[in-house]
């Protein structure tokens, strides 16, 4: 398995998209996305195969090329369970994103180009084992987001795009500083695996950790640096929102874990309590804020803040189970929120409104879309059998392992959000799909087209798959999480 193909394939797709014309564009993008998915699945299979064969290296399929000799910067790729899961997530969401954008008319070529670029950035990010390259891919994704929102967005798109770009840039500025700090304290190397073997003094870790964690925290919408999320999502086009919430926010969480926590275990210990407090606040506060939203996209954006809080909470708890839960939550939330945005987009395309109050009774006219909305809603509120449940429960159980009143209180606060979540999800789902049909014009709406169905079913299948049989995913993630938490535990 050559990991570089994960970078080259999207690159090839992007270039091909630029070269072909008119109606071919979306087919090329589609084909590319399908191939990416196939590749991701192949990676998963190959990975499991290797593991089953007893390969116990921390990272598999490693490849290393020195690019900048004097500064010791090189391309170093490799995957562990976490990366594999994230790559799968990315490929799924990007395929769905391509599909739901099928009818986009304005600057089609540019749209698909940017979309593919985003996916490229995410793949590269998840497989990088060199901080520099990782940062490179992280940054790559900022501008496509900006353009996607600014050009194809709705509402206050310029404002939102700007805010997003600037806040994310702020995050990367912090990451950059932290990264350079690591570079100089860890023997002039950006290589994650070799930094991990370097003894970094505790007070240096305490100094660098906040930079890295907060920096990645901005990407993952850590409270109180989440404010780009509501605006960004609400203005973005459907596929843009899907990517933003489904993949981009995961970049941050992955970074928090892989870079900040893994490389700086002492720092993680030092700041764990702050992380926990912030994420517990985010979970509850996000949920309560969601309750008041009238716009579906704002709603999902705030609920993302709340849900992502679970990831950060899990990371902050620093136990193997909680971290596994955090990772599960990242995957689950990625799928779920992408699906949610896809559905919102489908609704908006038809009703031309995203206001909950203006819809109603859509189950009658749009049974498919409404059903998907139900499913995604249930996933969001943590219904067993869907992926959200698995992730949240793992986080809770993991969080409960640390037995002092502070961690307990945080866990209970976080758990309390499942009620609030139920309130706002049901309110939204019920108001849009149930009740009498609010608007006469809605009666003539057409239910989802084939591409929309395909996109939705793809994600639903993944959500249900994880929800029904979480074992394989958890088994994929757990050993990798264990390596990270063992470092913290000092093993």
């Amino acid at each position: 398995m050559n990991l570089l193909s994960l970078i080259l394939l999207p690159l090839l797709t992007a270039v091909t998209v630029l070269l072909c014309r008119g109606g071919q564009v979306k087919w090329v993008a589609f084909a590319g996305a399908v191939l990416q998915l196939a590749l991701a699945v192949a990676l998963m299979v190959a990975y499991s195969h290797q593991r089953a064969a007893g390969n116990i290296a921390q990272m598999l399929f490693q490849q290393q090329y020195l690019l900048f000799r004097g500064v010791n910067i090189g391309l170093h790729v490799g995957v562990d369970g976490i990366s594999v899961a994230m790559v799968l997530l990315t490929s799924l969401v990007s395929l769905a994103g391509v599909l739901v954008s099928w009818k986009i008319e304005k600057m089609t070529k540019e749209f698909y180009f940017l979309l593919t670029l985003l996916a490229l950035g995410a793949y590269g990010f998840f497989i990088s084992l060199n901080l520099f390259v990782l940062f490179f891919f992280l940054e790559i994704s900022v501008i496509p987001k900006y353009l996607l929102i600014g050009i194809w967005g709705t509402g206050r798109k310029e404002y939102s795009a700007n805010k997003l770009a600037l806040m994310l840039m702020g995050g990367s500025a912090l990451i950059l500083v932290g990264m350079l700090g690591l570079y100089f304290t860890a023997g002039h190397s950006f290589d994650i695996l070799s930094i991990a073997n370097m003894p970094i003094p505790a007070n240096t870790q305490h100094l660098i950790f906040p930079f890295l964690f907060v920096g990645f925290g901005v990407f993952t919408a850590m409270f109180p640096l989440h404010t780009w999320v509501p605006d960004g999502h609400s203005s973005a086009p459907t596929a843009g929102s899907m990517f933003l919430a489904g993949i981009s926010m995961k970049l941050g969480g992955y970074g928090c874990l892989r870079v900040a926590v893994y490389l700086l275990p002492e720092g993680a210990k030092q700041y764990a309590n702050i992380i926990i407090v912030l994420s517990a606040i985010a979970i509850l506060y996000g949920a309560f804020a969601t309750m008041m939203q009238k716009d579906l996209k704002y709603m999902n954006a705030y609920s993302s803040v709340s849900h992502v809080g679970f990831s950060l909470l899990g990371i902050g708890m620093l136990t193997q189970t909680a971290v596994t839960g955090a990772l599960l939550q990242m995957v689950s939330h990625g799928l779920m929120t992408a699906l949610f945005f896809a559905v919102i987009g489908m609704l908006y395309d038809r009703t031309h409104t995203r206001m909950v109050g203006e819809m109603g009774g859509l189950l009658k006219v749009l049974p498919f879309i409404s059903t998907v909305l139900f499913i995604v809603g249930f996933c969001s509120l943590g219904l067993p059998g869907l992926s959200g449940f698995v992730a949240e429960m793992t986080v809770f159980v993991g969080a409960w392992q640390t037995d002092d009143i502070f961690h307990r209180a945080a866990t209970i606060a976080a758990a309390a959000s499942i009620v609030v979540t139920a309130v706002y999800i049901l309110r939204a789902v019920a108001q849009t799909t149930m009740g009498p049909v609010k608007n006469e014009q809605f009666l003539h709406l057409k239910d989802a087209a084939w591409y929309e169905r395909l996109a939705a079913m793809l994600l639903v299948a993944a959500i249900v798959g994880i929800g029904m049989a979480p074992g394989w995913l958890a088994d994929l993630l757990r050993p990798a999480a264990e390596i990270i938490t063992n470092r913290i535990a000092g093993k």
Binding site: K163, L166, M167, F223, P224, H226, T227, P230, D231, Y285, F288, A289, M291, M292, Q293, Y302, Q320, T321, T324, G361, L363, K364, F378, G382, L383, P384, G385, F389, V390, M393, T394, F396, V397, G398, W400, Q401, D403, I405, T411, I412, A415, A416, I418, V419, V420, A422, V423, L426, R427, A430, T433, M434, G435, V437, A469, P470, G471, A474, D475, R478
Partner: protein, 645 residues
């Protein structure tokens, strides 16, 4: 050992029905969907009966004790070494009994629905949801792992949500299904945290191991758990209380009962299935499942269980006396009866004669399933006929609906506790248990028992007697044909005869056989009270008169309060709307937009303001530039010569 395949089939057939009808219902069997689902359910029910037979009579007991066994279990999700969610089948007396109850009632409801729901547009969906519900409920009762219980617990919640909201274009139905889900969800939060506490104390999630570890005095787990406490209450007690809160939510115990009456917005057969016979007893079942923990490790919590049950029983009974919607009356009666079961558990001890309450609770669960389902289905027939839920609009229907009338009467007698109907036996055991352990609860139970008889017969007379019902519309379909009558008859048989089952032989707190006998002298008082209740109801409601109004006027305030359900709904509305939504929710939303986002924007604004502030520096005057230049040189030179050497 019971046959795994058969048990799996019992559980999976309803799931198969759900998937089949849910995914392909519309295209494959638009009309015949119901039949398919019913056939599958029939198979499932037969297999359940077969399993019960096998379990109780073939494998039998060893030394009079029925053992738990786990014929099948897999690790579904591992948290860490030693703690995992396992999915499996736990076969023991109560789960087998529940299997039978659930599949049987579900089958009845399936059959009944064939007639009742005829002509509904979304029939396949309806049967799919029924299948999903049955599957969830079966998964719940067979759960071998407390987390498995929680999983199916939630699934039960969601299927109930779907079924209550089946008439989704009715705003009241939508509100009701949301309410049901959210209130039970709130309770589930307690359940979840309780699970977490238990899992931490016992370091396992499997019921058998968990119970074993937490009840064995002197085990490591108990010792460890004893070191943790919060607010002066031990961790285990917290866990038990929280788990019970979960059960109380599902079982509509006071004060978490508010969803149950509203849940009657669903189709009536659904009410029969979910809100009478199966789902609402999940809480009872949960407490029963963890009974050793409650009884041995946290007896204090068991007291709470008892009191909550008793209070719920009487409050519900009082409210039921004043309601006019027949389904709501039945709903409150359900709540009241579950209160009976709950306090029966509360007044029980573990093992032997002292465990009578436990047996009684399960017995009552069983009998109650029969007659409550019957009552609901009967009410369904009535509503089907009248197209109205209001008692005031009915009357004299005994001629139009003779079979319904008879079966309904049997059910009323059963619930009122008149011998020899089923309710009598189970209620008798409950009262006996209460009498032995907690006199206060016993008296509450007695009063409730009398009230039960009163409001049931109030209902009965209002429907079938009194002023005759006027035939308003031309279209009449009688009792809805064979499919609707058959379940009524079968259930009536059950309601009449189930009491003779020697329940104590099968279900006891510790598995060993318990002989129970009816003491005539003890039964006199409750039966007398029931008869008195029936008599008063007859006097007030048999013929159309102004007596009810006068009675209501004479007790004034109490009547009004009961009629308004003691204003509990209003309190909830206040808390949720005013405090949570308008208070915290709006505050959070405002805070986010104004303060958090405001700060972010402020950074930008400040930058721009500074930028504007220093623009004068670039004055366009070349001499000014040179001045800055020189000043820069002087400052730098001074700085590095004198200050910063």
């Amino acid at each position: 050992m019971p046959n795994v395949t058969i048990i799996a089939l019992i559980v999976l057939l309803p799931l198969a029905a759900f998937l089949l009808l849910g995914l392909f219902g519309k295209s494959l069997f638009n009309k015949g969907g119901g039949i398919v689902a019913t056939m599958m359910m029939l198979v499932s029910a037969v297999l359940a009966l077969y399993t019960a037979y096998q379990y109780f009579f073939v494998y039998g007991s060893t030394g009079g004790v029925y053992h738990q066994c786990i014929p099948w279990q897999i690790t579904w999700l591992q948290f860490y070494n030693g703690l995992s969610i396992n999915i499996g089948f736990l076969v023991d007396p109560i789960s087998v009994i529940m299997l039978v109850v659930v599949t049987f009632i579900s089958l009845m409801v399936h059959i009944y629905s064939l007639g009742y729901m005829k002509g509904e547009g979304r029939l396949p969906v309806y049967f799919a949801f029924l299948g999903l519900f049955t599957f969830s409920m079966l998964g719940l009762v067979l759960a071998s792992n407390i987390f498995q219980t929680y999983i199916f617990w939630e699934l039960v919640g969601v299927s109930s949500f779907l079924l209550i909201g089946f008439y989704y274009n009715r705003p009241s139905a939508v509100a009701a299904c949301k309410k049901a889900f959210i209130v039970t969800r709130f309770a589930d939060l307690g359940f979840l945290i309780g699970i977490l506490i238990f899992s931490f104390c016992a370091n396992t999630l499997d019921f058998s191991t968990l119970i074993q570890r937490l009840t064995a005095t002197g085990s490591n787990e108990v010792k460890t758990a004893a070191t943790y406490s919060f607010m002066g209450i031990s961790a285990l007690s917290w866990g038990a209380v929280l788990v019970f809160i979960g059960g109380a939510g599902k079982s509509a115990m006071f004060p978490l009962h508010i969803w149950l009456p509203d849940a009657m917005e669903g189709p009536t057969p659904v009410s029969a299935l979910i809100h009478a016979a199966t789902m609402v007893v999940a809480g009872v079942y949960l407490v029963a499942r963890l009974f050793p923990v409650f009884a041995i490790a946290t007896p204090g919590v068991l007291q709470i269980v008892g009191w909550v049950g008793a209070v719920s029983a009487i409050i519900a009974a009082v409210i039921a006396c004043t309601q006019t919607d027949i389904k709501r009356v039945l709903a409150y009666s359900t709540m009241s009866q579950i209160g009976f079961m709950m306090f029966a558990l509360g007044v029980s001890n573990y093992g032997g004669e002292q465990g009578l309450g436990y047996t009684a609770a399960m017995f009552h669960l069983f009998t109650h399933a029969m007659f409550k389902a019957l009552l609901f289905l009967g009410a369904g027939s009535v509503i089907h006929y009248v197209h109205n839920n209001d008692m005031a609009a009915m009357g004299g229907l005994r001629k139009q609906l003779p079979i319904t009338h008879i079966t309904f009467l049997i059910a009323c007698l059963a619930i009122a506790g008149i011998p020899p109907f089923a309710g009598f036996f189970s209620k008798e055991e409950i009262l006996l248990a209460a009498y032995q352990h907690n006199t206060a609860i016993y008296y509450i139970a007695l009063v409730t028992s009398g009230l039960t008889a009163f409001y049931m017969f109030r209902l009965y007379f209002s429907i079938f007697w009194g002023k005759p019902y006027e035939n308003h519309s031309a279209h009449r379909h009688g009792e809805g044909g064979f499919v609707m009558v058959l379940p009524l008859v079968l259930l009536a048989v059950g309601a009449a005869a189930a009491g003779f089952i020697p329940f104590g032989h099968f279900v006891t707190s510790d598995g060993s056989r318990l002989e129970s006998s009816v003491h005539v002298q003890f039964s006199l008082l409750p039966v007398g009270l029931a008869l008195a209740g029936i008599f008063i109801a007859t006097w007030m409601y048999k013929t159309d008169s102004d007596r009810p109004a006068r009675v209501a006027a004479s007790i004034g305030g109490l009547y009004k309060a009961a009629y308004h359900k003691f204003y509990i709904d209003e309190v909830y509305v206040f808390i949720t709307k005013k405090i949570l939504f308008n208070g915290i929710g709006k505050l959070a939303a405002w805070f986010d937009r104004s303060i958090v986002d405001g700060l972010v924007n402020l950074t930008g604004t400040c930058t721009v303001a500074i930028s504007r502030g220093i623009k004068k520096m670039q004055s366009g005057k070349v001499q000014g530039y040179a001045l800055y230049f020189l000043a820069g040189v002087i400052v730098l030179a001074t700085l590095f010569i004198y200050v910063w050497k």
